[in-house]
Amino acid sequence: MASAIEIKAVSKRYGALQALDDVSITVEPGEFFALLGPNGAGKTTLISAMAGLSRPDSGSIRIMGHDVIRDFRAARMSLGVVPQELVFDPFLSVRETLRFQSGYFGLTRNDDWIDELLSKLGLADKANVNLRALSGGMKRRVMVAQALVHRPPVMVLDEPTAGVDVELRQSLWSFVKELNEAGHTIVLTTHYLEEAEALCNRIAMLKRGKLVALESKDKLLQHGKEREVALKLGGPLPGSLLPRKVREEDGRIVLKLADIAQLEHVLAALREAGVAVRELNVIEVDLESVFVNMMHGGQV
């Protein structure tokens, strides 16, 4: 079976800016994949290249085995994209928008699916409302529906929750999760790292157009070399543990551990010194710290 997305050595330059620099990524069918990186890292350029909105200077991209340039019709039929910018046609109602979008993909009599999309996205009562009259969040939902009119096996969401309220974020994610469980391959870019952490199983990180990491989420998290343990103690910290001390906060001493196994040593040292442990908290590394670490040039 063909990969859902196969990006091979793609480079793209805009004037002096190297937007993408030899990027290769393969996403398998059914994956929930996150594309992370700061602004200007090349995420949107990469998505544009997948969608045929921009043309790479070199390299190739296939969607479900179809080259996005040579075999663009099949590639675009396989791909649904929710663009980052909030855009809409001010002349049309929600239903008209979705009907026209279906037609562009060659589909007539798509109303059953349109109705299903409308109800799943909480738009059923807005079907005949002009897009201009909808709130930003509602417009975003329409864009999601537009990306799905042709039931694409691969769906790409470019920061779909930027500037969207909490309720919508949640309903959107549960909907996207549902799609993923039904077999759709999902790629998303986001600034909210907890979203990537909660939803995705694999993550790519881009920095200045270069792929700096491409791993499963768990592996990426393991790369966070250190963990920290916050302790509330009944006495002073024994001298042998002083080198581990990172900081003190709210009456707790924070120690760093090379890995979780070192907790054993810490506890033994405390027992030996007769210092009671009143409270113990292991601080997990989150994606954010891995991310920040990498974007500041740290290696994983």
Binding site: Y14, S48, A51, G52, L53, S54, R55, F72, R73, A74, R76, M77, L79, V81, P83, E85, V87, F88, D89, P90, F91, L92, E96, F100, Q101, S102, G103, Y104, F105, G106, L107, T108, Q146, A147, H150
Partner: protein, 251 residues
């Protein structure tokens, strides 16, 4: 094919929803020209033997309105989509360059022809005879709108701001349509302007269109047909190439 039909229908819906502005207004403008010019000039000018100036003016005004509106349709639709960003919804689906171009072109032709029919309808009582060659009338109406609709596609793709499109419209389309023998027979022009008029394809559209009504014109309708048809083929080729190459649409 379904993609083409859908985009074509969308383009029709777009201008029809604002028909006051896109159809009624140009018809009214043409009626004004007709009233004013026929009042001022009817006693002074006889364009062709047996053809009064008021009758002579009507097909010219109709063709000028068709040309301007065909251009306006594709160009303003494209620039609006580009500036609001919703053109992305046309770039993501599997539309071919031909489908994309064909839909904008055909919608421009429809708008042009609807406006032209409106102009003829409200001005006919000034003495327009029934067309002596209806097929010529139809051919030049469609081809003329086709040329300007195609120019509109090119301008809409090229322009990045409304200002640039307005420049295209005011400095190219307006002079071309006004200096085309709408208001006079070019045989009455001084030699320099007579020659200039002959490099203006809009002159041939109007002249051929007029021939369809009166059976006489400044040049042969076959010459006009070749000039207008040739312009159409050339410009369509250019427009298709621009769309296919992704010029200013796909980066």
């Amino acid at each position: 094919m379904q993609g083409f039909l859908t985009l074509f229908r969308k383009e029709l819906v777009r201008f029809w929803k604002v028909a006051f502005q896109t159809v009624a207004a140009p018809v009214l403008t043409a009626l004004m020209y007709q009233l004013i010019f026929s009042h001022v000039l009817s006693r002074h000018v006889e364009a062709y033997p047996g053809v009064s100036y008021t009758a002579f003016l009507i097909p010219g005004l109709a063709m000028m309105s068709m040309a301007q509106n065909a251009f306006a349709n594709s160009s303003s639709s494209l620039i609006q989509s580009k500036i609001t960003g919703n053109i992305v919804f046309l770039l993501l689906p599997p539309l071919t360059a031909l489908e994309f171009f064909g839909a904008y072109l055909l919608a421009s032709i429809v708008r042009g022809v609807v406006v032209g029919a409106g102009v003829l309808l409200v001005t006919a009582w000034f003495g327009l005879p029934l067309p002596s060659h209806p097929l010529w009338v139809l051919s030049f109406a469609i081809l003329g709108c086709g040329v300007l609709g195609t120019l509109g596609v090119i301008a809409g793709i090229w322009a990045e701001k409304f200002d640039q499109l307005a420049a295209f419209q005011n400095f190219l389309i307006m002079p071309l349509t006004f200096l085309s023998g709408v208001f006079y027979s070019i045989n009455s022009l001084p030699p320099f302007w007579y020659v200039v008029s002959h490099v203006n394809p809009v002159f041939f559209m109007i002249d051929g269109f007029r021939y369809g009504f009166f059976g006489q014109a400044d040049v042969s309708p076959w010459l006009s047909l070749s000039v207008v048809g040739g312009s159409f083929i050339l410009l369509s080729g250019l427009a298709l190439w621009l769309i296919k190459s992704g010029y200013k649409l796909r980066h």
